[in-house]
Structure formats: C-alpha cells, structure tokens
C-alpha cells in the first residue's frame, strides 16, 4: 500500500508544474495544457483522499471536474481557433487588448 503522502506529493508536483507552465509559456495551447495539468493534479489528490477515507464523494468530485474540463476544453479550443483566425498568432503576449 502506497502511503497517502506520496499521492499528495505527486499531486502537488503536477499542480506546480501546471502553474509554472501557465505562467511561463507563451503559446496558448501549452497554457491550455497546463490548466489541464493543474486540474488533474487536483483530481489525483481527490481520489487519493477518497481511497484513504473510504468515502465516495471524492470520486464523484473527480467525475464532476472531468465533465467540466471536457466542456472547458471544447470552449477553450474554440476560442483558440477564433483567436488564431483573427490574430494569426498563438502568442499570448500579443493578445493584450484587455488593458486600460
């Protein structure tokens, strides 16, 4: 039996990788993937806790997150395509109209 702390550590590493990727990368697709990485890091901790406490609510939450992530992926990819069509780039530093 692998101890809970291992799962949590892995989950934290995955999450931090996601955060760093989100902050550092310039390509929107990569950023998008970083988000998925963060979500899955969190999912991992959920199932780990669920197994540890023998409670199903954690697993239910994971399904919920996966559904939302699927929806998010659909919307997000659509936005990325739209951005690419108008700006001909996927570099977020050049997509900066949202400023004062």
């Amino acid at each position: 039996m692998v101890p809970l702390s291992y799962y949590l550590l892995l989950s934290g590493i995955l999450f931090v990788c996601g955060v760093l990727g989100f902050l550092i990368k310039r390509n929107i697709i990569t950023i998008f993937m970083s988000i998925e990485l963060m979500l899955n890091g969190v999912n991992l901790s959920f199932v780990a806790f669920a197994a540890h406490w023998h409670a199903l609510s954690g697993q239910v939450f994971v399904f919920f997150v996966m559904v939302v992530a699927a929806a998010e992926a659909a919307v997000g990819l659509a936005i990325i395509i739209a951005v690419y069509r108008t700006r001909e780039t996927l570099n977020v530093d050049q997509v900066n109209l949202l400023k004062l």
Binding site: F22, L23, I24, I31, V92, V95, N96, L98, K99
Partner: protein, 654 residues
Amino acid sequence: MTPNPYLWVIPILPLAGAAINGFFGRRSSKKAISTVALVFCGAAFAMALFLAASFSSASAPYYFDLAHWIRSGNFQVDFSFYLDQLSLVMLLVVTGVGFLIHIYSVGYMWDDDGYYRFMSYLNLFMFFMLTLVLAKNYLVMFIGWEGVGLASYLLIGFWFTKDSAAAAGKKAFIVNRIGDFGFLIALFLMIKHFGSLDFTHVFAGVRSLPTERAGAGLLTAIGLLLMVGAAGKSAQIPLYVWLPDAMEGPTPVSALIHAATMVTAGVYMVARSSAIFDRAPMAMMVVAIIGTLTALFAATIGIAQTDIKKVLAYSTVSQLGYMFMACGVGAFSAGIFHLMTHAFFKGLLFLAAGSVIHGVGGEQDMRRMGGLRVYMPWTFATMGIATLAIAGIPPLAGFWSKDEILWQAYNASWVYWLIGVITGFITSFYMFRLMYMTFGGEYRGAAVQEVHGHDAHGHGQAHGHGEPHESPWVMLGPLVVLALLSVVGGFVGYGNRFEHFLAPVFQQGVDVAGQGTSPEAVKSVEYLLMGISVGVAGLGWFLAYLLYSRRPQLPARIAASLGGLYQAVANKYYIDELYAALFVKPLIDGSTTILWHGVDQGVIDAAVNGSADAARHISDTARHMQSGNLRSYAGWVAAGAAVVITYMVWMGVR
C-alpha cells in the same frame, strides 16, 4: 359653533381656477383664460355672499373640519376652517375687491404675453388669502400666510426679465421671511404653553390664566413675536422697505395684494389674536407705537415721491400704520373698519393709477403727466372720489373709519391722536398733490407711444393719435363700483353698527359698547376732534391746490430752500441705503469671505476635490496591474492565492 360644509369650497374654487389656467393656459385662448379666472373667482365671491346672507351679528361661528393633519400625542392640528364676524368681513373684502380686480386685470393685462400666468397667479393668491382668512387655527393660517407671500413674490417678479422686478420680488420675499420667523416662534410658544394652535383653544387658554398678571411675560412675548410677523406682512417699521419696491409688479397686483388684501393680513392676524393682545398691554403699546410712527413716517416720504405708484405705496404703508394704531389702542373693530374702507379706496386709487399708466403709455412719473382730466374723465372722477375718501372728507368712507380710529386713539392718549391728525394732514396733502400733478394743468408728457397693440382689446377705438386715452370699460367698470363703495362704504360704521357686528369677536376687548350712550360732554369732544381732522384734511387739500395748481413753480423753490431735508425725504430717508450698509453688505461680505471662500471652497469643495484627486492618483498607479497581458494576470492570481494560503497556514485556519 355650527358646522358648515360650504366653508372649504370657497378657497378651493380659486385654486381650481389657478390649476386650470396654470396647466392648460398656455394653449388656451385669452377668452377661455379670462372666463376660467373670472368664473372661479366670482363663484368664490358668490359663495361668500351666500354665507353672509345667513350670517348676522348674533350668529355662532361656522366651522368645518376638512381633514386631519398633524396628530402627535395630545397635540393636534386639522385642516379646518372657521367663519365668524371678523373673517366674514375679511372674506367679503377679499373676494369682492379681488373679483373686481380680476375683471380689471382682464383689460389691463390683455396684451401681456404672460396673460395666462398672471391670471393663474391671481387665482392662486385668492386661494391662499382665503385660506388665511378662513383658517381655524394658526397653522392653517400660516399656510395662507406663506402662500400669499409666494403669490406676492411671483406677481411682483411677474416681469422677471426686468432686473429690478426680479430683485423687488426677492426683497419682498426675504423681508417677509424675517417677519415669518417671529410668527413661527410665536406659534412654537403657543404649542408649548397652550398645547394647541386652534384659535378657540388658545384663546380659551389665555382667558383661563388666573389673573391679569399671570403669564404676562409669555403673552407679551407671543404678542411681540406676532407683531414681528405682522410688521413683515403689513409693511410696518422696520420691515416696510419691501412694499414700495413691490410696485415693480403689474398695477392690478399692487391694488389687490399690496393695498387691499395681503398687506392687511397682519392687521387681521393681530385683530384675530385680540384675546392675546388684551392680556399683554406691553405688546399692545408696541403695536400702537409702531403703527403711529409708521403712519407718520411713511406719509412724510409720500410727499416727495414723483412716481405715482410709489406715492400710493407709501400711502398704503401709512394707512396700515393707522390700522395698527387702532389695534394697539384696543380698537380692533375700528382697525378692521379702516381695513375695509381702505381696501375700497386704496384698491380704487391703484386701479385708477393703473388706468392712468395704461392711458399714457406706461409712464409712471407724475412730472410727465398733467391735464389728464380732459382725456380720461372717468378715471379722473373715480380717482377723485378715492382721494376725497382717503383724505377723510365726509361723508366718504375714509372719513368714518379714520375718524373712528382717531377718536379711539384720543381715548388712549392724545399723543397718538396728534400724530394721527398730522398724518391725516400730510395724507390729504400728498394725495391732492398727486391729483393736481396727474390730472390738473396741461399735459406735460411726450406723445403716447403705442406700447401695446390696442386692436387686440376689441374695444374698437382707433388709437395712435399720440394723446392719452381713456381705458376700456372692462377696466372702468371696477373703478366705478369701487368708487361707489368708497362713497357709501363708510355708512356701514354709522352709529357704531360695525363695532356691534364685530362685538362677538372682540367681546373681551376694551369696552367700546358704551359709546352709543356717552354723555354730552364726551360727544362734544368727539365732534370737536372730528372737526379738527376734517379741518386739517381741508387744509392739506388747500395747500396742495396752492402749491401744485396755483403756483406750480413754488414747490421746486421750497424744495431748494429745504436742501438736505428735502433730499432726505425724496430719498426715503436713506433707509434702504442704511439697511444695505447695516445688514445686506455685512451679510454678503461674510458670505463671500467666510461661507463661500472659506467653508464652501475651503472645506466642502476641498474635501470633494481632494477625495476625487486621491482616487485618481491611486487608480493611476493601480491601472498598471491591468496590462492586458494574460500571463501577468495569471501571475496576480497565483500570487494572490499564495498570499491567501500563506495566511491560512500561518494563522492555522482550518
């Protein structure tokens, strides 16, 4: 007391007229406007007559409670109306003279662009004046009191594009506010000490005070404060300054508001409060002294005025002084009697003056009139009657009432009487001076400019020959009726009938009933005094005739020889300048330096601008966070999350 459901209808009628003309008048024809104004005002007059027909000197007062207004603990004020002999006299005077002046206004104001506005204001004034007169408690009276002030303001400043008219309106309003302040404090005192503002309750409370001395201080304070209010509304020293300026308004306004009705509201209020004043001899004395001084003071100013309406304005102030003198010596019914006759002849004088002004094309300076008796015989005749009446020539109306006042004043103190007689002399002099300057001699004015298109009058006369012309009949009619009233109005008081009629109201006043049976010695004194006052009136007439008809060059020489004194009189004793230096200028300077530059700009504006500046500076710094760069946003989110997590871990929050 008898309830009477018609009472509240009387004031509401003119209000309806005012509302209809005010809201729809702009798009109505002038005929429709006139009809509405006259019908509603005339209906009020008819109602008043209808009530008067069933009301005798023995009748118990009518009252009507329209609605509750203020209920607070034991204190209550209702919208209630009240009619006794005193209010009946006022009611008839206000609606009767008011109706005549409405008719006159149709002719006088026909060509004015603001015709509908004028008629609406006039009706509005009638509503407030009737509310004032018919009130059953001091607070409803106060509604009317303030309302007539508002109507007066609107009508003085009727030609508001003229700076002087707008300023005069403001002056009237502000000076009246000073008086109203006193009135209000008096009301507060009544609430505190009698727990009510209802006339019957307050007066019963006053009468139930145990002895003559009890509550004398309180009653004196209330009396004096009421007098402050009355002095403001009725243009007595020291608050009379607004009335002469109020002549900037159209002439029917001067006649209705500033001669016949509104300015007498103060006299009415003092007479209404006779129960209070009877118990406050100090306050009575102040009323008498103020009245006497005002009568003399204003009359002297009237001598040297050249504007026909200004003469009449000072004459009004002076006559109001007579009324206060009467009230001050306890002869309330004599004061009200003079109020009534004054409404007839002074209303007539103003309307006739308006007819003159109308006839000579807007000129108001008597030095550019003269000889008008040829051109406007009807105006001349009616104004002549009014002049005889105000001068106190028997048997016209003014003689009876003024003589009654002087006789009562003599009974109180010969000083009042003497000053009253001197004032009578001056009154006679300046009124006949006005007559001779306006109607006597040759016409001195320029050819009349047709300032208003007379074709619109519909009286079909061809003007434009450059000569003064008589006014149309819609204006002359009211003059004739008022002239009749000025002739016969005085006989109401013959044999003290007027006093007996008002006796139920003033039953607690000084004993006036004994006069009918006064002994022969007293009678002979009364006739002697009557003779003297008629004599001085005749003397004033003669002097005016001498100076302004026989030797027209003499007045200028006399004026020159008097030098400074004449200048002082001609400049109204520099009272306006004195007030300006004493009150207005310090107020303006103080407001400018302390309130405007100091408080308003220094504190309020500074606080507002300062907070706006601070917000702008902070935002200016903070907006750099909002770069539009997605990764920097993400960085902020991450940093924020880090801070929150650190905090929670640090504090051990679970």
